[in-house]
């Protein structure tokens, strides 16, 4: 099954290798991995989606946390969260066949970000199944897909935030015991939440 881990890691050379090497050693395939800056300049946030047995999540998380450069790991599989993926899709399309693609883009709320005489580029954001839905209708249609670039899954838990984890790390608190599994689910406070996106979450807009 697919597990999703969100890791806060130090922004240093070699950290990606250490994380990737761990999955290699456990013989677990990484389905997707996105890395980028976090809310703090010296810390990156990784979203790792991995195909591993159902019971492996705890061990993967604990092993990731053992890496010295990993500051925090969340196994977000069990929590309420926002999942997004961005994809760029280049489709063969002439002036005659464009309108068909425009229609599909409209339905999927994808944007046209480039237009060339023989092709156009779509940008789509959403859960993975939404991206796959668009790819599927494009494939089944008359328009040949020329290129696809997908970011893989990015995930953020609702409500709960990790900035306090980073804050806390500036203060030495060696005695403090952190629960292995967070028992508190992120609470959704109405003011922070884009209700439209929540509504979009369970169902694909197809």
């Amino acid at each position: 099954m697919l597990h999703t881990f969100v890791a806060l890691v130090e922004d240093k050379p070699g950290v990606l290798t250490r994380v990737a090497s761990l999955f290699r050693r456990l013989n677990i395939n990484i389905t997707s991995l996105t890395v980028g800056h976090s809310e703090r300049p010296d810390v990156s946030r990784m979203t790792i989606v991995a195909d591993a047995p159902a019971g492996a999540a705890h061990r993967v998380r604990a092993s990731l946390y053992k890496l010295d450069n990993v500051l925090e790991v969340d196994d977000i599989g069990q929590f309420s969260c926002v999942v997004r993926e961005l994809a760029l899709i280049k489709v063969a399309a002439t002036t005659k066949t464009r309108s068909n693609v425009f229609e599909l883009a409209e339905v999927f709320r994808a944007r046209i970000v480039d237009l060339a005489p023989e092709s156009l580029m779509l940008e789509i954001t959403g859960v993975s199944s939404k991206v796959e839905g668009l790819i599927q209708v494009l494939t089944e249609g008359e328009n040949k897909i020329l290129e696809i670039s997908r970011t893989g899954r990015m995930v953020m838990r609702r409500g709960q935030h990790t900035s306090r984890v980073l804050d806390a790390m500036r203060i030495p608190e060696p005695e403090q015991v952190i629960p292995l599994l967070e028992e508190t689910h992120g609470e959704i406070s109405g003011g922070d939440v884009d209700l439209e996106l929540i509504a979009e979450e369970p169902n694909n807009p197809t």
């Binding site: 130090e10 050379p13 070699g14 290798t17 250490r18 090497s21 050693r25 019971g55 705890h58 061990r59 604990a62 092993s63 946390y65 053992k66 890496l67 010295d68 500051l71 925090e72 806390a168 790390m169 500036r170 203060i171 030495p172 608190e173 060696p174 403090q176 015991v177 952190i178 629960p179 292995l180």
Partner: protein, 588 residues
Amino acid sequence: MMPIEATNQRQATHAARLTGAEIVWATLEGEGVREVFGYPGGAILPIYDALRKFPIRHILVRHEQGGTHMADGYARASGRVGVMMATSGPGATNLVTGLATAMLDSIPIVCITGQVSSKFLGTDAFQEVDITGITLPITKHNYLVTRAEEIAPAIREAFLIARSGRPGPVLVDITKDAQQAIADFDFDAAIPGEQRKHPMLRVEEEAVTNAVEMILAAKRPVILSGHGVLEARASDQLRTLAERLQIPVATTLLGLGGFPASHELSLGMMGMHGESWVNESIQQADLLIACGMRFDDRVTGSLATYAPKAKKIHIEIDPAEINKNVAVDVALIGDLREVLEQLLPRLAPRSAKKDGSAWLRSIRALKGTASVRDIQNLPDNGHLYAAHVINDIWHATGGKAIIVTDVGQHQMWEAQYYKHDEPRSLITSGGLGTMGFALPAAIGAKVACPEKEVWVIAGDGGFQMTSPELATIAQEGLDINIAIINNGFLGMVRQWQQLIYDGNYACSPILSPDFVKLAGAFGIDGATVTNRPEVLPTIARARTSGRAFLIEFQVEKEDGVYPMIAPGAALHEMIRRPDPLIETTSDV
């Protein structure tokens, strides 16, 4: 020697402008390091050049692998961090086996390697190798340091990481230009730059309550005592737990000495070559209290049939070990000593019956019928068995020596026939099973604990892997006693071939040099023993010689280690000692 100058220098170097090479030594000195093992070479020469300014003893090894085992033995004997230094390229790659050995057995060592100058990194320069890449999976952490300013923080962090939590090896690779550059050095300011993250520990009130209830309700409990007992210095707490509730204690190979072997509640070593009553007890138990151990395959046998009736409590500092091999009912993730101290006040002493509980009586019954281990009590039949030798070393040393074993049959015999009552009295490569470990690790142990009697027990195969370290013993004038158990075979390989591969002894007979002559070439005295009456007198000769002494014991060639659980078999499906050995009594 020069106490005043040395003292002044130490104060001066706590805040000064130094070369990177000097910073290496000053930081080591600040960390309390008095001895390092090493082997110089081009890319680490600036560091060696600066050594004369610091009161640190350097032990020149004969091979870098041996050096890592020395640092390892040093750490295991003393509980302090062992340090090994090597140059770039081949010097660094020779560390690999030693690092992996320390990694698998959770031993705190720091290896410092020289590296080519930073401008040559990645150019395949002379003696350049990507050692941080190579050692990624076999170190707890490693560093590539390219600036002098980063040296002190990296080394201080390395020490912290090596000895904190579940200990392990750390490698610090320092480029030559960083060694030569000049930087401000302030030991106290070079505390680890990042605030250390919180350990992922969890000892919840509910789990503690559950554990206490399970322990009090158990009718047939067994404590499994692992290496964590030594690392957490929890021997006293473990003993209190066992005595208070009259729970028998089985021990892993690396846990030997964590609970006194002579204690009436001690069962002995569990697992593949554990005694039958130990493994039977585990299979019949209704509760296992696993303390600082990781349910290794050599300990569990087949997982499907492992301790089927037992609930399991796992007390362990590494969260990644929980439910890895064996699913447990309660996990207490934390420092073993602290967890035991949390449990103990809630466990009221059980009134000990005169002849023990029904459970202890039934274990005693198992022991009575299953014990076929009277080799050392058999009359002399002209055959010399390794068990005799090891049992006699135990008697002669009063169980007080540090025994350093290699890997193989003699290692298991040692675990069976030498009764370890003290923590850190057995040093052995368990997880990786590294042949060639014993001789160099014993050097490390002797350097760490010069007042202790140190014995190497090695097979004829493993000893030949690192025998050049005899020169290190000679050069350093170390008083180490060496017992070579020579049976003319790679014994454990031969035993497996006998039992599992139809007696096809493929490539396991091994020719050895005259070990006594070999020792003599290094200026080390020695003697050969071929029969039983000579064993004790020769051991006595070695012990009283005041210097290194090597004894070659020529033992029964095709003796086997029993009991044995075939790989993948259940813990109670033991291969017992075959009859022929017993029949040898009729030879008399």
